[in-house]
Symmetry: D3
Subunit: 134 residues, 6 copies
C-alpha cells in the first residue's frame, strides 16, 4: 500500500482538487491515477510534478505518442512496475499498437544489451562522436 495512503477527490483540499481537475481535463478522463493521489500529501510536489509532466508530454517537436513510448522505455529499463503499467496504458490510449509496443520492447532490450557490451569491453568513444554539433 502507498506509504502515506491515497488522497481521494472527495477528501482533497481545494489546492489538490485544482490539480486533479486539470489532470482530468488535460487527459480527457474522469479518473486520477494512484500516482497523483499518493504524492498529493505534498501539494507542492503534486503541483510541480504535474506542471512539469504537462509541459513536457504535450505536443512539440515530438508527438505525444512518441513521448509516451520513451517513458515506457525508461520505465522498463529502470524496472519500475508502476510506471511500466501506467505508461503502457497511456501509450496505448495515445495510439500505440501491439506492433509498435513489441518493436519498442525489442529496441529497449537491445539497447540494454549493447550498453553493457560497450562498457564491459571498455570501448573508447570514436573521435568523430566527440565534437558537438549545434
Amino acid at each position: 500500500m502507498a506509504t502515506l495512503g491515497l488522497i481521494e477527490y472527495a477528501e482533497a483540499s481545494a489546492e489538490v482538487r485544482a490539480v486533479y481537475d486539470d489532470i482530468m481535463a488535460t487527459r480527457k478522463t474522469d479518473r486520477v491515477n494512484n500516482f497523483w493521489k499518493a504524492i498529493a500529501f505534498h501539494p507542492v510536489t503534486l503541483r510541480r510534478t504535474w506542471q512539469s509532466v504537462k509541459q513536457i508530454m504535450g505536443a512539440g517537436a515530438l508527438d505525444p505518442l512518441i513521448k509516451e513510448m520513451i517513458y515506457v522505455a525508461v520505465s522498463a529499463t529502470n524496472q519500475c512496475g508502476y510506471c511500466i503499467a501506467s505508461h503502457t496504458a497511456a501509450a496505448r490510449k495515445a495510439g500505440m499498437t501491439d506492433s509498435m509496443f513489441m518493436e519498442l520492447m525489442a529496441v529497449v532490450g537491445m539497447a540494454n544489451e549493447t550498453n553493457r557490451l560497450a562498457s564491459g569491453y571498455q570501448v573508447e568513444i570514436d573521435e568523430q562522436f566527440k565534437t558537438p554539433v549545434g
Copy 2:
C-alpha cells in the same frame, strides 16, 4: 582503451570483414564504429549482435529515427557514455533535430524522476492497468 583492443579492417579475418562490410553497406558509411571493432574478437558475438541490431533497428511499425531516439533514452538512463555518444550521432544522422533531442531529454529526465516517486511512495498499480489488452 578497449579491453582487448580494436580489430581494424586491414587485420580482420574474412568472417569479421563480412560483418564490417554489411555494417558499412547498411549504414551507407565507410566507417565501422569502435564498438564493433572491440567485440570483433568474438566473431560469434559480433555477427549475432549485428544481425540483431540490423533486424531491430530497421523500418517497421516504428520509424528508424524513433528507434534511435529510444536507444538514446535507454543509454542516458543507464549512464553509458559510449552509447549516448554513438546513438546521439546516429539519431542526428537519421534526422533528429536539436529540438527533438531536447524534448527527448526532457522526457527521459522526467521519467527517471517519476519512476522514483512511484517506487518511493510505494504506489500500487491501479486496477484498470492490470488487464492485458491484446
Copy 3:
C-alpha cells in the same frame, strides 16, 4: 517467497540466535525482519552484514535518522521494494516526519532527473570540481 525460506528464532542455531539477539537488543525491538531471516542460511553473511550495518548506521558524524533517509534514497533509486518498505519504516521510527519523507522524495526524484540530463547532454565536469579537497 524467499529463495531458501526464512529461519525463525525457534529453529535457529546458537550462532544465528546470537545475531538475532544483537539485532533486537540494538534496535530495541522483539522482532527480526524477514531480511535477516532470509540470509541466515549463510551465517557468515548474516554476521558480516549485520556487523557492517550496525557499525555504519550508528551515530557518528551523521545522525542515524539522516542515515536511514539516505538508505531510503538509494533504495528508491534502485527500485528495491523490500528495502523501500523496511527502511521507510526504520526512518519513521528514527523520527522522520511526513514532511521530511516528502522532501526526501522530491530530492531523490530531482537527482534522478538531472543525473540523466547531465549524462544525456554529455556535460563535461567543470575544471574547479576536479581538484580534491582533503
Copy 4:
C-alpha cells in the same frame, strides 16, 4: 564535449541570462556550472529545471546540507560522474566535512549491497511494513 556545446553568459539571450542571474544570486557565486550552460539551448528546460531545483533544494523540513548529501547518494548509486563531482562540491560548500562524506559513502555502499541481497534472496515484505502510516 557537451552534445550541443555550452552557452556562455556573454552570448546568452535575455531569457537565459535571467536564469543564470537567478542561479548566481541564489547560490551567492559568480559562476554558472556547465550543467546549466549545456541545457540552456532549451530555455524551457533550463527555466523549469532551475525552478524545480531551487524549490526542492532550499530549506524546509530538511536542511539544505542534508539535501545535497542525498543528491550525492543518488548520483553515486547511478554512477553519474558529473553529478557526483558537482554535488560533492556543493555539499562541501554547504558544510559537509570529510567525516560526513565518508559516512555518507559507507551508507550508500551498504544500501547498494543489501538492496541486492534483498532482491536476490527474494525476501518478502514483512506484514507490519505494509500498512501506510499517514
Copy 5:
C-alpha cells in the same frame, strides 16, 4: 498480468510452436516459461531471443552452470523479480547448491557496494589497468 497476455501451446501458430518445441527439447522439459509465452506475440522477437539465449547459454569456455549464475547476478543487480526467480530455478537445475547460491549473493552484494564507493570517491583508474591485454 502480462501486457499482451500469454500464448499457450494449444493456441500457438506453427512458427511459435517450432520455437516452443526447441525450447522444451533443448532444456529437456515439457514446460515453456511465461517469459516466452509473453513475447510470443512478436514471433520475430521470440525466435531471435531464443536463438541468442540458446547460443549464449550453451557450453563453451564457461560451464552452463556458471552462465546461469552470472544471469542471476545481473538480474539481482537490476532488481528484475521475474528474472531472479526463473534463473535461480534454472541455476539450481544446472547444479547450483545452496552454498554456491549464498556465495554468489555475497559477491553480488559486495560488488554493488564497492561499485558505489569507487564512483562516489571518484577513484581514477590505475595506470596499469589501462593497457589492453589481447
Copy 6:
C-alpha cells in the same frame, strides 16, 4: 581526481599500513590499487571493506576466478568504469582467458536484454518458481 586524494604507503598511518600490507600479502603483489588508497581516509571503512572482500572473494563453494567474473558482470551492468577495469584485470590474473571474458560479456549483455523484456512485457512469475527449495 579522487575526491579526497590518495593515501600512499609512505604517508599512511600504522593502521592503514596494516591493511595495505594484508592486501599485498593476500594478493601476492607489491601494489595497492587506487581504490584502497582513496577510501583509506576513513580507516574504519578501509578495514571493514577489505575484511569483507577478503572473506567473500576467497575460495569456497565457488572458485575465486568465478567470483571475479561475477564481479565484472555486476560492474558492467552498473557501468562502473573503475570496477570494470580493476576486476577485469583481477579476473585475468586469476586465469580468465579471452574466450571466457567474451562469453561472460555475452551472458551479461543477454541478461540485461531479457531483464527488460520481462519487465516491459510485465511477465508474471510462473507458479513453480514461487516455492522455496531449501
